[in-house]
């Protein structure tokens, strides 16, 4: 029987858990991923700027600004900056906060917050046997906006044909 600390160090070198991206309904994207940690830790990493800066955003980008007012109706704002100087701003407000189980926020891209353009992001943290399943459901204001975002998930679902197309285009 593994002790908790050896399970954790095994997790550090184990294969990465896969990310699932799906597009149910007409205006949602659901991202789901398991983590080898209790949900208290995942929730903390998700809501504390000092921790967020260490993981949020792809390689080659940094979370250069991360302001979080963690209370209902509090404001949050991220600035993700790339090596090439490109910048993406995300911001919104907290709607529901129920640590370590649930976080609901509104979300827009860009410097100006327009409530009608905001998506609603629900993050659920479900724990079982010391492991957490994080489920992020983003509901877009229109089906059109969701469809654009969902292309990445749908691309995988399309199977081989689309991947061959990728390869072909990469070679052009």
């Amino acid at each position: 029987m593994c002790s908790p600390s050896s399970v954790r160090s095994q997790a550090a070198v184990a294969e990465r858990n896969p990310v699932s991206v799906t597009a149910p309904g007409d205006r949602e994207i659901v991202v789901q991923r398991d983590f080898n940690a209790p949900r208290q830790a995942v929730f903390a990493a998700y809501t504390q700027p000092a921790l967020l800066r260490r993981w949020f955003g792809p390689y080659g980008f940094t979370l250069s600004e991360c302001d979080i007012d963690l209370r209902v109706d509090g404001h949050w704002r991220y600035v993700v900056r790339g090596d090439d100087g490109s910048e993406m701003i995300m911001q919104g407000y907290f709607r529901e906060i129920d640590p370590p189980r649930l976080l609901v926020t509104t979300q827009v891209f860009g410097d100006v917050y327009v409530a009608d353009d905001a998506s609603i992001a629900t993050a659920q943290f479900d724990e079982r046997d010391g492991r957490t399943t994080l489920t992020i459901t983003v509901r877009y204001p229109t089906a059109e906006q969701r469809d654009r975002m969902a292309m990445s998930g749908m691309a995988d679902g399309m199977g081989e044909g689309y991947e061959r197309l990728d390869d072909l285009l990469a070679s052009m």
């Binding site: 600390s5 997790a11 983590f35 080898n36 921790l51 654009r148 292309m151 044909g161």
Partner: protein
Amino acid sequence: MDENRLDATFGALADPTRRAIVARLAHGDASVGELCEPFAMTQPAISKHLKVLERAGLISRRRDAQRRPCRLQARPLAEATEWLAEYRRFWEGSFERLDDVLAELGEIAGSSG
């Protein structure tokens, strides 16, 4: 990439028939008649899809004679594909780094126990 073009590209590709048309044209030019074959669709229906793709700059059509072959224009599609790959990598990359942060937090908790 031009935001409007990205929108037009994604709008054009948001339909499974149009994606399949694009995939077919990736293997070479085709006439409208040839493009109808895989689908249980009339030529006017296919032509509607082709108009959307043409407006988005994803295909070009030669205006000669009767066959009017369609050709895939790769650049807008490559740019959109690049954006999609970026979006997916965004999540994968972020969560891999989150794994590492959590592993460190776990070690700290374990060693202070």
